[in-house]
């Protein structure tokens, strides 16, 4: 299992090749191959999850496990130093839950795609490409590689929305594409800045002749390199510039006088460059998350995307934004996290309330759920911004839990849309009478999403709010009123879900005559059970036994929080 991480990425990629070789008419085979590939991916990610050792994380290669590190691009630029891009994969507690989520939702998405009729071959090829690049994003530890996968997600997503989407699909696809592209450009700017500022001490040691190979660079040698860097005795052509994210965490790896060095005091428009870089990165990932006011691509993309793509969009792609905050933005620029805590927390609270209020006003069920995603992602933001153990863990838990629950919610809208061709809340009444089993699952999904105890969303939101409230005393990041205002998001969440539930599922059975002649809608099919029931069970399991996940992830997240608090001072 040495190459488990690579196989997580390459199984879907190779399946894409296989699908491209299959003739167009063999739709069944294409579907089955995709299903097998994603199931394989899921099994591997589950294996990874259960074999991940949370306690060992502090020792193995800077806290990462199952590490794969290969030199990919290495250029000697003479006086500009060496350019080093690595194929660097690894998991820690921060990426673990996201990898598991990707594995699970990949399968659900394929099952949900079973009814795709138009150009099946292209669809599944793009679908698997998307899953592979999302997985790559969560596994990459080299910023260049990360960025590659990050950009790679856009392409299949663009086509999946633009070809298989609803009536306004082109508009939505272009909007999605451009919005996220702007985000990634901001990331690119900072990435280049980081590249010029950060060195890989181990590789530099090899280059300077202090060690024979990178693995031979003991901590002592690394220290030696770092102190030589500070004193300026290292010749600039010996420096190995790197994109390695873990190297960026260490303030000692920044070249003195470089643009992003902590004490360089370079200012731009009166702001330290590092703070600006933090802001750029933050906006880049915030667009993906998304937060108010850069959220408007989300409702459009969701409404136009086909059901399985909405599922992936909500449960995986949004998480890449949150993951980026955890992996890159906060630890690389800890002082930015501390400096802008109020701003980020404020945006989080705004997203919670604003998203919920918009959801309350929506008459399209899918839009309602899309806005509820905005609201729920606000919790991710304040939880992380609070920089408390509870808040950060809750924030991660919220990402995982929202992945499961929003997947369910979008499948639910898909079920209604498949049967009637409408998603309007006011087109339906009393669906509970013709679709009782479906209604049960809807109630579960809605209540899980509004944070009923027993479901994973409750644990997540509780921890986030707890952390946010405690923040004023523990880490001094966020004021208490933010926690109070955010808590009222729970009330709004309950309001829009219960209202939708009452309007669509309760009362006397009725379907708008324009939608359907008779109000009879068949209950769930076996395939739909296969998607909804496992997700419902998972949210319940993770709601009742949070330790299943928290035991694995919380040591790493705690370390992260401590690191940011110490480094951000």
């Amino acid at each position: 299992m040495d190459y488990i991480l690579s196989s997580l990425i390459f199984i879907p990629l190779l399946t894409v090749l296989l699908i491209l070789l299959l003739p167009k008419q063999m739709e069944g085979a294409i579907k089955s191959v995709s299903l097998v590939a994603t199931i394989l991916q899921m099994v591997l990610s589950c294996w990874l999850f259960f074999n991940f050792n949370p306690t060992a994380s502090a020792t193995t290669d800077q806290g990462y496990q199952f590490v794969e590190k290969l030199n990919w691009i290495s250029l000697n630029l003479q006086s500009l130093g060496h350019l080093q891009i690595q194929y660097f994969l690894g998991v820690d507690g921060i990426s673990l839950s996201m990898v598991l989520l990707t594995g699970l939702m990949g399968v659900i998405g394929v099952v949900s795609s079973w009814t795709i009729k138009k150009n099946v071959k292209a669809y599944f090829a793009l679908y698997l490409l998307l899953v592979a690049s999302v997985m790559g994003c969560f596994l990459a530890l080299d910023l260049f590689l990360f960025y590659l996968f990050f950009e790679f997600m856009l392409l299949p997503m663009y086509f999946l929305i633009g070809i298989w989407g609803g009536p306004r699909r082109e508009y939505a696809a272009i909007k999605f594409f451009i919005y996220t592209l702007i985000g990634s450009l901001l990331i690119l700017i900072v990435m280049i800045g980081l590249y010029t500022s950060v060195i890989d001490p181990a590789a530099t040691a090899v280059n300077a002749g202090l060690a024979t190979n990178a693995s031979g660079a003991t901590p002592a040698i690394v220290n030696q390199v770092q102190s030589a860097l500070v004193s300026g005795t290292l010749a600039s052509d010996k420096l190995v510039h790197t994109f390695s994210i873990p190297d960026m965490y260490q303030a000692k790896n920044f070249i003195p006088g470089s643009i992003l060095h902590a004490f360089s005091n370079i200012q731009l428009w009166g702001y330290p460059v590092r703070l600006l870089a933090f802001l750029l990165l933050f906006i880049g990932f915030a667009i993906k998350l998304p937060v108010v006011p850069v959220h408007t691509w989300l409702p459009d993309a969701h409404v136009e995307a086909p059901t399985p793509i909405s599922v992936l969009l909500a449960s995986l792609l949004l998480k890449v934004g949150g993951y980026g905050l955890f992996r890159i933005v906060f630890p690389v620029f800890p002082e930015g996290a501390a400096y802008y805590a109020h701003l980020i927390g404020g945006i989080g609270v705004l997203s919670i309330i604003y998203g919920a209020m918009c959801a309350l006003a929506m008459s399209d069920l899918k839009k309602l759920i899309a806005y509820s995603s905005v609201s729920h992602m606000g919790f991710v933001l304040i939880g992380l911004a609070s920089l408390t153990v509870e808040g950060a863990n809750g924030s991660m838990y919220q990402m995982f839990s929202h992945g499961l629950i929003s997947g369910m919610l979008f499948i639910i809208t898909g079920v209604i849309y498949d049967r009637s061709g409408s998603r309007m809340i006011q087109h339906f009444r009393g669906l509970a009478f013709t679709m009782p089993a479906f209604t049960v699952l809807v109630v579960i999904a809605f209540f899980a999403s509004l944070g009923l105890p027993g479901f994973s969303g409750f644990i997540a939101e509780l921890l986030v709010l707890l952390g946010t409230f405690a923040s004023a005393t523990v880490s001094g990041m966020l004021p208490r009123w933010m926690a109070i205002v955010a808590t009222s998001g729970l009330l709004l969440g309950a309001a829009y879900y219960l209202w939708a539930l009452q309007r669509m599922f309760f009362g006397k059975i009725w379907v708008h005559p324009e939608v359907q002649e008779t109000p009879n809608m068949p209950d769930l099919t076996r395939r739909e059970y296969l998607m909804l029931v496992p997700l419902a069970v998972l949210t319940l399991v993770f709601g009742l036994f949070p330790s299943l996940l928290l035991d694995k992830i919380s040591p790493a997240i705690n370390q992260l929080v401590q690191f940011i608090l110490v480094a951000g001072k």
């Binding site: 108010v292 006003a361 105890p453 409750f458 409230f469 005393t473 109070i484 705690n558």
Partner: protein, 713 residues
């Protein structure tokens, strides 16, 4: 592990099994599984009795299990535990909850017979019982909050049980949302306690709070990193927790959901909205009593008194048999909360217990009456719809439903607070506690505190009045619809099935004072009081208001005069209330409906409309908020999204401009040069026109120019 804990777990888990079995497979079970639910609840009840006998006044069992942890990497572990806490209060609540749940389920077998979701009904009752037992057994605030939400959820399911009824689903939504409002406050309270003490565990919190060292305007607590918790924040935390109670126990101003909740099936109203769930708020106050500051308790007392009074006034203006009882429940819950607020902790709990029995009984009674009237109305040939729940359509039913009437009388007497009945004991204790408290508080010279016991006494008068009215309307006088007694009965010989009557009679039996105290005029010496006193529940620690409570207790012990006085006053007031009701309605029952209610104006109308609180919330909060949400959505679509689109459009326009510049200027320059070359070429070509004569001219001109050039130089 203590085997008692295992038994307690079994008690809690059995109803959960009921829920899962009936919900998932109930359709296929014979009789759709009601026997299973009743058997499981019966077993739970028996085990609860067993636990009661082992724990009551004997021992306290507390077991903690780790639930989940955060951290472990170098820094301190944040551990979340779950646990079971068994003391006098929890075992008592176990018995009450399982007992009433059992009786209600037996009652429901007939009452809900033939409903297409019969098995779901029992499943939901199972879920409710489980959650309620969870509240009772939890040893920490987080777990308590979880079950707190779950009872809200099961209440949501049960109020809206008749899905096709819009009023029912509206009421269920309203109940859940109003409860959530309170729960946000509750969470705030939990957050404060967690932030400063790092735990949710009630026992640890209790010790930490009791060890508080007062300092300036705050407290320093041992084990809490020397942080100072300001007095204001602690008061606010207490009020936050109280908010949870305000929501769940229907206190002012969130009480409006409870009357609406009567849209649910009547047995549900009896179990959830009278006996158990709504009392959970009082239970919570009792568990958190040590954390309340004196100021917080003052607010609690005021809210309680206001609720007691408002509920009682509103009850006077109702005509729906269940709504009267619902408002009465609000009023009685107000009493309990007021009792907590004035430090009459044990009296308040006693009232919780006695109220659970007599109010459950009254609701089940009402259920039988509705059942019968409903049956009768089917025979009644009327042009318009006849509301089977309107007391104005009843009358003289004591002859039709004698056993029901006999069960009704003691429960009503208990509610009114007549001596020898249970309600007298508890209400008297609360009122005398309130009086003593007012005496203690007004030692500073401010006698406004006496308003609270005065409010309590006024509520006694009103309670007597509306219950007497209720009673006269339903059971006395003449039958206003003039339906034959036989038509009320499903079977000609019996007034109702024994499955309906036995639970009612059993509950009515427990409305008699002897069950709670050997001296039916004073609760002070009862086994009950001794078991529920603060000393028993809190042990050596006394909480933040220990001094005040001790003072009041001693004061009450010292002079039995207050007890006697409050007893006499409240009985007197109750008799006055009954008399007024008798004067108004004994005669009125002979009149026709129109005459009776033509003049319903003024106070009665306001009371009937519940002080227009619904309209207040609807017009002041809900509607403006919804339209504000609409505005926000429009803002989102028209401003934010449009500005994003406008930005995109601007980019396109800019691109077009640049494109134009590129095409016209940059590319134009290149084209111009080419054009110029072409022009020159073209003009050169003109000379080569193949006409010999023009060649000749050109050469001639050339020659002349050459000559001129030569000549010039």
């Amino acid at each position: 592990m203590n085997s008692l804990v295992l038994w307690a777990l079994v008690v809690g888990v059995l109803p959960l099994f009921t829920f899962f079995i009936l919900f998932l497979g109930g359709k296929k079970l014979p009789r759709r599984g009601d026997w299973l639910a009743i058997t499981f609840t019966g077993i739970s009840f028996l085990i609860s009795l067993f636990l009661f006998l082992h724990i009551w006044q004997k021992e306290v069992v507390h077991v903690r299990f780790p639930w989940f942890e955060l951290g472990g990497a170098g820094n301190q572990l944040v551990a979340f535990t779950s646990g079971i806490y068994l003391d006098n209060l929890s075992v008592l609540m176990l018995v009450i909850v399982t007992f009433i749940s059992l009786l209600v389920q037996v009652f429901s077998v007939i009452y809900m017979h033939g409903d297409w979701r019969y098995h779901h009904y029992f499943a939901y009752l199972g879920l409710f019982t489980f959650s309620m037992l969870g509240i009772v057994l939890s040893d920490n605030l987080l777990l308590l909050f979880i079950f707190w939400e779950l009872v809200g959820f099961s209440s949501y399911l049960l109020i809206g049980f008749w899905l096709e009824k819009d009023s029912a689903t509206n009421a269920s939504k309203k109940a859940f949302l109003f409860n959530r409002v309170g729960d946000i406050g509750f969470l705030f309270g939990i957050f404060v306690l967690y932030t400063f003490f790092g735990t949710f565990d009630l026992q640890i919190l209790k010790d930490l709070v009791s060890g508080a060292i007062a300092q300036n305007n705050g407290f320093i607590f041992p084990n809490a990193d020397g942080q100072t918790l300001s007095y204001t924040l602690l008061t606010l935390a207490g009020l936050g927790i109280f908010c949870g109670c305000v929501g769940k126990s229907a206190q002012f101003p969130l009480q409006v959901w409870l009357p609406d909740a009567m849209e649910g099936p009547t047995p549900v109203s009896s179990l959830i909205h009278a006996a158990t769930m709504v009392a959970a708020g009082v239970y919570l106050l009792s568990r958190c009593f040590p954390f309340f500051t004196e100021d917080a308790l003052l607010v609690i007392a005021i809210i309680g008194a206001v609720t007691a009074l408002l509920g009682a006034i509103a009850a006077c203006g109702q005509n729906d048999i269940k709504k009267i009882l619902a408002f009465s429940t609000i009023s009685q819950l107000g009493y309990m909360v007021m009792g907590m607020g004035v430090g009459a902790h044990d009296a308040s709990l006693l009232h919780l217990v006695t109220h659970a029995f007599f109010k459950a009984s009254l609701f089940l009674n009402a259920g039988i009456v509705i059942h019968a009237v409903h049956h009768a109305v089917a025979h009644y040939e009327a042009d318009e719809f006849v509301d089977a729940q309107d007391i104005r359509n009843m009358g003289g039913l004591r002859k039709v439903l004698p056993l029901t009437f006999y069960a009704y009388i003691p429960a009503t007497a208990a509610l009114i607070g007549l001596p020898l009945f249970s309600g007298f004991l508890s209400k008297d204790a609360i009122l005398s506690g309130a009086w003593a408290w007012a005496g203690y508080k007004s030692m500073g010279g401010n006698s406004l505190y006496y308003l609270i016991p005065v409010g309590g006494f006024s509520a006694v008068l009103l309670t007597a009045y509306y219950m007497a009215r209720h009673c006269f309307y339903i059971f006395f006088g003449k039958n206003r619809l003039e339906i034959k007694p036989a038509d009320y009965r499903h079977t000609p010989t019996k007034e109702a099935s024994w499955l309906l009557l036995v639970p009612v009679l059993l509950l009515a039996l427990f409305s008699i004072a002897f069950f709670f105290s050997p001296n039916p005029f004073d609760a002070g010496s009862s086994w009950f009081f001794q078991g529920l006193s603060l000393k028993q529940l809190l042990g050596s620690t006394t909480g933040l208001t220990g001094n005040m409570v001790n003072h009041i207790t001693e004061y009450l012990h010292a002079s039995s005069f207050i007890h006697v006085l409050t007893g006499i006053i409240s009985v007197g007031l109750a008799l006055v209330g009954i008399f007024i009701a008798w004067r108004n309605y004994q005669k009125a029952s002979l009149k026709t409906n129109e005459e009776l209610f033509a003049g319903q104006t003024g106070v009665l109308k306001v009371a009937h409309q519940h002080f227009y609180l619904n309209n207040f919330f609807e017009n002041i909060f809900i509607r403006p908020f919804l339209s504000f949400s609409q505005e926000v959505a429009i803002f989102d679509k028209d401003i934010i999204d449009r500005s994003v689109n406008a930005f995109g459009k601007m980019m396109v326009i800019l691109a077009k401009v640049i494109g134009w510049i590129d095409r016209k200027l940059v590319d134009g320059l290149v084209n111009f040069i080419a054009w110029l070359a072409g022009l020159i070429g073209k003009s050169g070509r003109l000379m080569q026109n193949g006409k010999i004569q023009s060649y000749y001219i050109f050469s001639l001109f050339g020659l002349i120019l050459l000559i001129l050039y030569i000549l010039a130089f």
